[in-house]
């Protein structure tokens, strides 16, 4: 706790945390959508198939009534308790000290009961997001984005939110082990000194380091020092989900590792080849904001929204935002790019695809791009091989986008070798016995290395293996030494984001367990046995930052959360925007002299197949393609033991706690499989047995697999959740496998989704307007009629709303990208419990805000709608009327509030809520037994016991905090000063909260928008949460053309 003295309260940051702000089922669908399009939900419903009937009869089949089940949950609690008890057994657990005595000396800035805010950064996947973390009496309780940080802008994604729970995970590794036996730091030092002498003698010739994609300048400096000490040692970076193809493509173009950076604000037309830039780009938060701002429709004269054309194999959140989305196999992207290049005149090479939709899509893209030269943007995802990126660069250059909408930045601290190649080399050396000492820093290669490397087997051939990681995971178990790593909220470090923003990673809490930072470990390897990460990081910056007054600057940097330097230089436009050379063959740009010979060394890489495919039309009718994707909630498996991440319903499928194979409706029909049927997928690399999930919008002959499932040594929560699909992945085909055999096995696995039936059934919870209707200020007649007449009530509501403030919310369906961040932010802010897969299956998920999704149109290429649904805070709330004890009632400020203490649990309120946003503690869901989780709870929010109802409170604790402050200062509350957790975290600024009574407040202005509508308004509930209707492209060009 002494570290608190070193932390500075960030005054600026502290205040900014609040200031920043088809065919319907016959006969069932009584009223088909009046507007000609019928919305439908699950495919079974659409097809009215026997599976649907079978399923709908018994969604919870036979096992639903096991008597033992509630006891199983107890067992779960016991397990959690047991792991807690084990912490005591090890004797290495340092619980945070709690002394119930007043401070003798009040720590600076600390007022009991008032949170402090500290700036820090979260290193993630080769980048870093600037954060502002709330600390309550020394315990980090909430992670927010740092509004000053260019890669956060005040928002976060689900991963930053989930990271908080990982900090408090009771399954985290707590002690150093050697071959499974508990050892001390001193013994590790002794072992290392022996090892070091041997390596020093041979200049580290058989010494290898494998490190995750760290971007820490301090680490880079330490590594360079280590390279001086062990000149022959080799360094490798490993990340199963890496952007290597992008970096390497641009390395080959510019002679240095580079990564593109897009200006979505200036792009009128965006063409994306399999790039889910709103989800898995390091720029995801900045891109989400810039992209969403171009289609917010929040101002009345908005008439030039951007248009997104996107081709992808499996629906993603970015794909759902596309005006024209082309579901197509990942391996065809190369051909598609070449088709686009050819039709734009960038190349003469001929390329063809079979699919008429694809041809029409390319033609539509061409037309749009030609009209918007210099204001367009073409991009491809990292799942595509380097060649595709070179083509994309050529197209951008030809369109004059470089320097305008596309810039290139040099990658700071780039890996010496791209991860896949590097790991392959390391595995080869291990196999041939050339490695005696292997130090693995972070990462989990034993679990997530490509299957063909047989990494685990080869690992045992080294004499000395050490793994530093948060968990005693698969790799730790395979290594001799395991050192527990400190969480990034527990240790000092620094990190560079992809855009060159540089942050100091500042700890919020003393290490919960006896962990070590990677800097400490590096220092040990450098011979500095007792170095502290704090000193190491400061020493680095003292030596390298060239600040006049180091202490002053240092404090300023800690307060801001980032340094006034940029570590990733922009490659000048004149260098990168060289006019495209005429291309006549399949090779778009010649490899530059002096650049690394990347591709030659990769045997039979994925892109060479693309070239082959490009040479002749590919026949899609007889192959099944396999496509790997990062998991939307557990990424590459690192969040597998994180209850928040596992329970977060994945976009569109709404699946929790599982990673089934996603298949198209057409393929499901061909294979005769239904949701949950287990298939065997066999490739050259291996085979897995995995249940399937039918996913509308999936490319017809592509099976998509989320990486990261099926961890077997991640902790009590995540072990054996889902299926491990890494065994199908190889160094040659890391993302797309084109030769696959699929066989139905006749076994079944219950997949748990939170939304099975989701046709809108003509009810139009998501209202849409065409752009034409929006511009002409027309509301479709069928939607007008839903508004109840103002005189259809006996009450005068205006008279009743006498309080000074009247809170309300508007959710913009145009900008909501469905990233799920609000769900986790709400979970973190409001102490919402994780209930586990079984309880989710029983329909008891606790999230206060949920993302509803609906499909519309053809099942092969549907339109996607997502709608965040929190409590509506109805002015005439049906829930309040029926509570026998007035446990839910209305505040004068218009909040529908829950009094947990008064609730007796009749659940009548939930029955009477037309939105079904109320959540009930059917069991003791809040884990009150695991002490470490309690540390992370928000002290401002009651932890609910079993038997009480709960629901969205508009983050009433935040409202009150600001109200008190304003009251004490005798001032008015400013618009935007109160931000609920969901609105604060939203990268797309889709949620606006504020005072409806305040003239000119943003929320009251949005309420006057002609897009504004209330959900189920016809019930006369007078919801305070309203939506801005989604403005849709009225005539999808490709569909028209495909029909012609």
């Amino acid at each position: 706790m002494e570290r608190h003295e070193r932390k500075q309260r960030s005054n600026d940051a502290g205040s900014s945390s609040f200031a920043s702000g088809a065919n319907p089922v016959p006969g069932v669908d009584g009223v088909p959508g009046d507007r000609g399009v019928t919305q439908w939900g699950s495919l079974e419903q659409l097809t009215d198939s026997p599976e649907f009937k079978r399923w709908s009869g018994r969604e919870f089949p036979d096992g639903a009534s096991e008597l033992a089940d509630p006891l199983e949950r107890r067992q779960f609690l016991k397990l959690m308790g047991a792991s807690l008890a084990l912490m005591g057994v090890t004797g290495c657990y340092r619980p945070p000290e709690e002394k119930i005595v007043p401070y003798l000396e009040q720590p600076e800035f600390l007022i009991s009961g008032r949170p402090l805010y500290f700036a820090t950064a979260m290193p993630f996947n080769g980048s870093a997001t600037g954060l502002l973390v709330t600390s309550n009496e020394g315990r980090p309780t909430k992670i927010e984005g740092n509004s000053g940080h260019s890669l956060s802008l005040g928002a976060t994604s689900v991963f930053e939110q989930a990271a908080l729970l990982t900090l408090y995970d009771p399954d985290r590794s707590k002690t150093i082990t050697h071959n499974g036996q508990i050892e001390t730091w001193e013994q590790l030092i002794a072992a290392w000194l022996t090892e070091q002498d041997q390596q020093l003698a041979q200049q580290g010739r058989t010494l290898r380091f494998l490190i995750d994609s760290t971007t820490s300048p301090t680490a880079a400096w330490q590594i360079s020092e280590l390279q001086k000490r062990f000149p022959s040692a080799k360094w490798y970076h490993w990340e199963p989900i890496s952007h290597e193809s992008i970096v390497e493509a641009h390395r080959s173009l510019f002679g240095r590792p580079a990564y593109p950076e897009f200006q979505f604000a200036d792009a009128d037309v965006i063409v994306s080849f399999d790039n889910d830039f709103l989800f898995d780009s390091p720029y995801r938060l900045a891109y989400s904001r810039a992209f969403a701002r171009r289609r917010s429709y929040q101002t009345g004269d908005f008439s030039n929204p951007n248009r997104l054309y996107l081709a992808e194999p499996s629906p993603t959140i970015t794909g759902s935002m596309a005006d024209e989305r082309l579901p197509i196999d990942g391996s065809v992207m190369g051909t598609l790019v070449q088709m686009l290049a050819a039709s734009l005149g960038v190349s003469q090479a001929k390329a063809e695809v079979h699919e008429r939709e694809a041809v029409a899509w390319v033609e539509a893209c061409t037309r749009q791009l030609k009209q918007t030269r210099g204001r367009s943007l073409v991009t491809a995802g990292y799942r595509q091989p380097a060649e595709v990126h070179r083509w994309v660069h050529a197209i951008n250059a030809a369109l004059g986008n470089i320097g305008k909408t596309v810039n290139y930045r040099e990658v700071p601290n780039a890996a010496p070798l791209p991860p896949f190649k590097g790991l392959a080399e390391l595995a080869q050396d291990l196999g041939s016995g050339q490695v005696e000492t292997l130090i693995i820093i972070g990462g989990n290669p034993v679990f997530d290395a490509p299957a063909d490397l047989e990494f685990e087997k080869k690992l045992t051939r080294a004499r000395f293996t050490l793994h530093l990681s948060l968990f005693q995971d698969e790799t730790s178990t395979a290594c001799q030494w395991h050192v527990p790593e400190n969480h990034f909220l527990e240790s000092w470090s620094d990190a560079v984001g992809s855009d060159g923003s540089t942050s100091i990673v500042q700890p919020l809490i003393a290490p919960l367990y006896s962990g070590y930072s990677r800097h400490q470990l590096f220092a040990l390897f450098l011979g500095q046995v007792s170095a502290q990460d704090y000193d190491l990081v400061r020493d680095y910056w003292r030596a390298h930052a060239q600040w006049n007054d180091f202490e002053k600057q240092w404090r300023q940097v800690l307060s801001d959360g980032f340094l006034p330097v940029n570590s990733a230089a922009v490659i000048p436009a004149e260098d990168s925007a060289s006019p495209p050379q005429p291309i006549t063959s399949g090779q778009p740009t010649p490899e530059r002299e002096g650049s690394l010979p990347v591709r030659q060394s990769l045997p039979q890489s994925a892109f060479s197949r693309t070239t082959v495919a490009a040479s002749g039309p590919r026949d899609p009718s007889n192959t099944i393609e396999l496509s790997f994707h990062p998991d939307p909630t557990i990424w590459d498996g690192r969040f597998a033991n994180n209850g928040w991440a596992q329970e977060l319903p994945k976009p569109f499928t709404r699946i929790t706690w599982d990673n089934p194979a996603l298949i198209s409706p057409a393929l499901a029909k061909e294979l005769q499989v239904a949701n949950g049927d287990i298939v065997e997928i066999r490739t050259n690399a291996g085979k897995v047995e995995i249940p399937v999930w039918i996913f509308p919008g999936q490319a017809k002959r592509t099976i998509s697999l989320y990486l990261g499932g099926g961890r077997y040594r991640c902790g009590n929560l995540g072990n054996n959740v889902g299926v491990n699909v890494y065994p199908l992945r190889t160094t040659q085909q890391p993302w797309v496998v084109s030769e696959t055999q699929v066989r139905k096995l006749g076994k079944f696995h219950q997949i748990v989704s939170t939304q099975f039936h989701h046709s809108m059934q003509g009810r139009e919870p998501v209202q849409t307007r065409t752009l034409d209707e929006f511009v002409r200020q027309v509301v479709p007649p069928d939607q007008l009629t839903k508004k109840p007449e103002p005189d259809q009530t006996l009450y005068n509501f205006e008279e009743r709303l006498t309080a000074e403030h009247q809170w309300g919310m508007v959710i913009n369906l145009n900008t909501c990208i469905g990233c799920n961040a609000c769900v986790l932010a709400c979970q973190s802010e409001n102490n919402i419990p994780v209930v586990g897969q079984d309880q989710v299956w029983r329909g008891r998920i606790m999230h206060w805000i949920r993302i509803d999704r609906y499909f519309e149109g053809e099942p092969d290429a549907p339109k996607f709608y997502q709608q965040p649904v929190p409590c509506m805070h109805c002015e005439t709330a049906p829930c309040e009327l029926v509570c026998p004890v007035e446990a839910t009632n209305h505040s004068a400020e218009g909040l529908n509030q829950m009094i947990y203490n008064r609730c007796i649990g009749t659940r009548f309120c939930s029955n009477n809520c037309p939105y079904k946003v109320r959540r009930f503690n059917f069991l003791q869901f809040a884990d009150t037994k695991t002490l470490s989780f309690q540390l992370g709870w928000n002290p401002e929010v009651t932890v609910r016991a079993r038997g009480v109802m709960e629901k969205c409170s508009y983050c009433v604790q935040r409202i009150r905090a600001v109200e008190f402050d304003a009251d004490k200062a005798n001032r008015k509350i400013n618009d935007g000063e109160i931000v609920p957790a969901c609105a604060q975290v939203c990268p797309a600024e889709a949620i606006t909260f504020g005072d409806l009574k305040q003239q000119g407040s943003q929320v009251s202005q949005l309420k006057t928008s002609r897009l504004n509508y209330g959900l189920l308004e016809e019930l006369n509930t007078r919801p305070r949460t309203t939506y801005l209707a989604k403005v849709v492209t009225e005539k999808p060009e490709t569909k028209l053309q495909a029909k012609e």
């Binding site: 009534s65 009810r763 007796i904 029955n911």
Partner: protein, 463 residues
Amino acid sequence: MSSPKLVEDKVVESSNSSHVLVSPDETLESASAKISSIVLERKHPPFWWVSFAIAFALLMGLLYGITILFAIGVGIWGIDIPVAWGFAIVNFVWWIGIGHAGTFISAILLLLLQKWRNSINRLAEAMTLFAVACAGLFPLLHLGRPWTFFWILPYPNTMGLWPQFRSPLVWDVFAVCTYFTVSLIFWYIGLIPDLATMRDRARTRLSKVGFGIISLGWRGSAIHWKHFQTVYLILAGLSTPLVLSVHSVVSTDFAVANIPGWHTTIFPPFFVAGAIYSGFAMVLNIMIPLRYVYRLESVITERHLNCMAGVMFATGLMVGYGYIMETFTGWYSGDIYEQYLVINRAIGPYGWTYWLLLLVNIVIPQALWFRRIRSNPVSLFCVALSVNVGMWLERFVIIIVSLHRDFLTSSWGIYAPTGWDWLILFGSVGLFVSLVFLFVRFLPMIPMSEIKEIVAEREEEAA
């Protein structure tokens, strides 16, 4: 009364046994002896012991289920969001409905001077009490925090808080408590003359003292009888509106809510008809075996069975009318949510429950058009059983099927009961049957005084 034959309330000395209320063989002495001997003298048949053992085992199951329920929480049941009410509320409404026959028979038929009620009213009233006791369990059990149940009562407290009187759940508490209290008093007052008879005929010291205390010093004097008749009539008058009000109030639990399938004005009369329907079915289900085992054919004659079948059938037809009107108004409303509800009831995931409901609750009881069915104890027993299952299913259809798919398709869900749900349902049946068997064992199940009244009248006429 639906059948004109039921108007006959005089004792007709006829060979047609369906008109006889008390067998002509019975005398004042023999009636008392026959009925009191069940409690005082006769050995209890194996039927009693076996049945009681089964019912008692179920009751123990109920207690076990409740223990686990209180220890772990209502999450052991199958309820979820959106189906936050499950078996507990289905059972509550079902039991309350069953608890309607007794008071209907005792009070309304008394006021209507239906003499045929005399031999069955005691059992029916006892059954009412037990059914209401079973029903009363469920609102408590279903609470998320059952230990706070008393917050729903208007009692002075330091928090200065009252219940929320707009909530139908509060009305429920008043309705059910009142009904239980009045039914209990009514039943007990009616018992007093018989308790005195039992006291007088008791052989053992214990039963003499026991019956002596609870018969409140009844001596059968004329003034006693005068007071008794007055009180009894007043109580009958008090009970009569309750018969109609209780289930009307219970129906507002649903009718006040806005859920399609609940939000409907037909519910109060519909629920009352359904309640009397299932109440009579349950009386028949209890009475027919007891009549057979204890050879009470001379006091519970075919005429009684016929009359009860008639009432059951008439209310059943009202319920059928309710189904038709629900469907019609669903369609006629023009509201897509109501329309979808009607369709979903028939062909949704729980469509089978709806069709089964129509079969057991409407189609099978049509057999009651035939006198042969009405007067045959076995066939009547089967029809009554079918009605009881049907009325339970009806509440299932109303509660679960309406809840599982309401307004937003995104929040649609499904409900599957767990073993605990079933255990508590059958456990409550066990509690009910146990109470009935204990009642049969310890109290006179046929009102001797009223039987003797009929016999006396007959003797007067004969004289």
